[in-house]
Subunit: 377 residues, 4 copies
């Protein structure tokens, strides 16, 4: 495609108008500014239940139309992309309908309320391009971590440690949000936070074979978990631990991991997302120490598309970069990751976590045989 050739335009419909709706809207606008995308995007319809806020949001974020009927939107011939940014309860029905209608489907995480649901979604989406918004894979520092792992710079991995620490679960002002409602959210910290970190672990350290978990709800009367902790054995022989909580007073959004391998260590923390720490055990002994890499280029993933080295980016850019990669894969007819199949793997881990916590026992994680999802009826 040359610069003069007009690009194909994809018409997007987004279902949802909350925090994620804003983050996605922003990405749909910004991706074509910062990246050389093979497609133009048109923000065609925003769909939600509250009509008043919907109008305001459409105006603010440049959506051409509004709708309160997602089924009608999914049925529209002029829509190419359905983006699901609703509470978790609606992910499956909308995504499955959209996939059946042949749409490109983008869906927020956690993909589903259960493994069964996730598998039906993955099966439905088998033949359409799809994405799950595990956006933290595209933090430049995380992508760099993946590159260092792939370059063999960690050697054999011994330890993987992950925490996702937030504190708003203890805030009485947040009492009524849907994320505390079991019917809508399915779970608490597990679906909201732990799934992010499990996805990163799968990316960076591979399959988890077995785990032992505990779940805790601190707030009286709350329907969902406030915190989850687990121990894990990975297929690569390393061992690890995970924690996700909304009761870590003092931490706002500390999604952090560290990995120790025979040749080095990696450390990352989302509250400081422009940095990656890398201890290189192959450095001369007297200058060994964590390299504090300011991941703003040159030579770093994604960030050369934004600003010059040293000019940091933020949370929102992870959505933009995810979308850019998705559009590239789409144009090249390649499979994008993380997709629905990847999210099924996360969902299996979630199910194992919940089972382990309930039974107070170690649980082996069921492997997902590729292509073996049950057919959606």
């Amino acid at each position: 495609m040359t610069a003069n050739q007009p690009k194909q335009t994809l018409n997007v419909a987004m279902i949802g108008q909350g925090f994620m709706g804003r983050a996605h809207s922003n990405a749909f606008h910004q991706v074509t500014r910062f990246f050389d995308t093979p497609y133009d995007l048109r923000l065609k319809v925003i769909c939600g239940r509250n009509r008043e806020s919907l109008e305001a949001m459409a105006k603010r974020w440049g959506w051409e139309e509004t709708s309160t009927d997602w089924e009608a939107v999914v049925a529209r011939k002029d829509i190419d992309v359905i983006d699901v940014a609703t509470p978790n309860l609606l992910h499956a029905p909308i995504a499955i309908a959209a996939a059946k209608a042949g749409k490109i489907v983008l869906c927020e995480k956690p993909l589903a309320m259960s493994v069964d649901e996730a598998e039906r979604m993955a099966t439905a989406a088998r033949n359409v391009p799809n994405l799950v918004w595990f956006n933290y894979r595209r933090v430049p520092a995380v992508s760099l971590a993946k590159r260092l792992v792939d370059e063999g710079r960690l050697g054999n991995v011994y330890h993987y440690r992950s925490v996702y620490l937030q504190s708003w679960g203890a805030d009485p002002a947040r009492k009524g949000v849907w994320r505390f409602n079991r019917a809508e959210a399915g779970s608490g910290a597990i679906g909201d936070l732990l799934t992010h970190t499990l996805d990163l672990a799968l990316l960076l350290n591979g399959e988890i074979e077995e785990l032992s978990a505990m779940i805790q709800t601190f707030a009286p009367g709350r329907e969902v978990d406030d915190a989850v902790l687990l121990l894990a054995r990975f297929a690569n022989g390393s061992i690890g631990s995970f924690e996700a909580t909304r009761f870590a007073i003092g931490c706002k959004n500390r999604n952090a991991f560290d990995i120790n391998g025979s040749k080095g260590m990696l450390r990352f923390n989302l509250e400081d997302l422009n940095r990656l720490e890398f201890f290189d055990a192959t450095d001369p002994t007297h200058i060994q120490g964590e390299h504090q890499v300011l991941v703003t280029g040159p030579g770093h993933p994604y960030v050369d598309r934004y600003w010059p080295p040293g000019h940091i980016i933020g949370y929102e850019h992870t959505f933009i970069s995810s979308l850019a990669d998705f559009l590239d894969a789409l144009a090249r007819k390649e499979t994008f990751h993380p997709n629905f199949d990847d999210a099924v793997r996360v969902q299996r881990l979630v199910e194992a976590v919940e089972r382990s916590a309930k039974d107070g026992a170690w649980v082996r994680v069921e492997k997902t045989a590729p292509g073996k999802h049950k057919a959606a009826s």
Copy 2:
């Protein structure tokens, strides 16, 4: 104004298509998304010398028209705002012409090539709303620093320390850029970096009365300064030092300051722009220590407009927030800061720096009497 009332639209023309052109274009789009602005903005014309890149940039960033004739653009009746994002050489002619044409004028820093030029610009702009893009005032952490100073949390200030450390001046690949050309840039690290830090010092610590400076060019044959250092006495009785350099290998964009007062200390570093360190000497002795404030709300300047607490923002947001404040001031018919008059104060400091370095002597800084700029001829 109610939500239903259509907002007045301001038509914007931007002269320039480089790094700053991108940053401003982004801000013109994003400000209405993240802020409840009293105006809508229309990206009407982008103006530059290289037609080919101009077309590409217009397309990418949504400018409706292009032009290679800034004088024609300034003369257009339908343009409300002229944004000057050119090399420094052109700031004065364009801004003065725009001001004379009654336009709202936004101008990149450093405002001018000399105090004389700056004063003529300020005089010309006396009757039009104007802004200088000293964007770092609107880093949320910097705005918070200002708030803490205003709350008296530092007490009497003893020390102000500022460094702005970059390293690209030593990079042979960057050889030909206009920023190394004296005719276009006027100066090197002084205009590019030191002016930012002087503006912040004026904001946070008030007037500088005298200074002793040194200037250094490391690169053979380079026309402009690579580094500048100075000692200063402030009107409030504190003493300070400043350094700006493009030869601080190891630092990408370390615009940092720290302030010690009788009641506390502040520390900031642009490479970690979502944090402010505050040592509160009024804390109980045994728990005194720098508070590592993650300035992402709640209760923090600007950031509540972007994402929830703990979701960090980046460099580009400083332009968006500056513009939002400017539009608010415009609607309220209030004077915005930093404006051309503020930039004249910076320019006087720059002149004092250059004189001091040339003479190897302490120099008293000329005070700018308000309203006493020479008339532009």
Copy 3:
């Protein structure tokens, strides 16, 4: 006691001449220099198996005599204090013999090879002053943490996280050390590292009621564990995790914990032992952030005995401060902590950890009823 009154002298015999032997020797000398101790100490006998190295060590560290027969040493009438700094295997026989001989007994951690052994030691030591060298309680920052907990500054605790990360287990040069020998050491990271962190958890967060653990040996053919991880439920309703490993490449001696409560957070890391991080959720919202407390006084535990504020201390000072407190308690005829009874509690946790890891199941921790140790035969 006045300054002029001669102090009673305690004659010390130390069994052991390794790393801990050096650390204790240093403490025996330094405690009277830095603290106003109620006793003088005389380094009377050092006892060990390797006579050659023993002579050199005695000379270097000022021990008056050497011996290779610990039983003879324990039987000496002129010895007041027996300090056990041997490999773990010998802790019990020496400590029990010393206690039966009426000596003051100091013993390295882990106290014992089993709960049974630990209880017999505690029973034997019931009537003699005793100490276990869980020296990290006296890191000034840890003591400050305890003070903040006691002041109620954390509120209700939700989370306790602990890691003790070392990397020398992967170093082939360290192959033959006794710490890898099951007969002499009993365990690996568990006894060496985890016991330290369990002791701190008991100090700072109280009893652990149940736990689920995993143990891993990475080095082929190694007899002891290289790593241990566990999840825990505390009696105070909080939940937690622990990890201790000798395979955390990149970490030398990272004994770290963090605690989240309803009113604040604490963070500590032994590699930076002069600092404590305290997030005070009762600070005004806009200045909330981890206080980086440089725990070097004034108003901080122990450090006023060493150097002026800002002059940091090191690892060795934890032994000195422990000893100072012990001697004070001795003079006041008060029970010192941590003592053998405290170490029994740790040993019960260790046993639970090993059982849990073996069975792959959660284990309830047996409570130690005070005074209910089995009688030593």
Copy 4:
């Protein structure tokens, strides 16, 4: 010398009983414990004016005798080493007398009250082994910095930045100390703090050719400077700045420097003295970042003499390591650094600083021609 051969014993007399008296006493004891010194040391006499405190200090720190007559002590035949730890005023008379008496002379910094005095001291000490207690050269991280400089790992140096920030000058409780008395101290922050940092600069970056300084006294009625700042040009073409202050509220003992060269950057801070940051610009681009080197071995200067890797040391160890090197040089009949000649260089800089601040002008620093000190009369 074999291990069995008895080592020669040096009899030490120390004049002074304050903070430095304690630090030196400690070093005299500890050096033979941690290092294989070629000499044994005997703490023979401590000399001071306040007899009561002197007795207590002698007892506590193991000095065999006390004296209130330093001249008598210097005259004693059985004394090999005179250590001067008095207020600055007495450095010259004692050190000169000791040197003339053929003693080994150790002297606290700042060496003297003037260049003239310093030169007379250096001349007097020409023929006796001598040391100045610029102890921070032997912080392991500083020694490592020197090694990296010598290995060429910084390339051509562009920038040297140094601050020494303390805050006790603002503490009313410290009002009467001799360090605020001009007659006894000579100067304030200059002699106490700046001399340390100038000595490190000379070590790490070589001669300073010219400088421009300012001096400030904040406390009303105080006789000495509270703060000093200066700009400098080094002989190697780099430029730098120095600041020393006792009014940096929020900082206890922040003696910090950073150096930028064509190939890397170094950063050090005494409040975190076990770490050195090294940015290696020769690392692959994508993993460039400050190496956070925990300077506790293996392969690091001095620290292998203390504890295993990861076990940090403190302030006091810098005196021990200095003394160890001095004794080694003594046995090898080599010149130790920093010695009186080195301190003369620092004193010349101090004089230039004071002159520059007084005149408000740049000052060229007089070079010390080796062996050209004026003869002491």
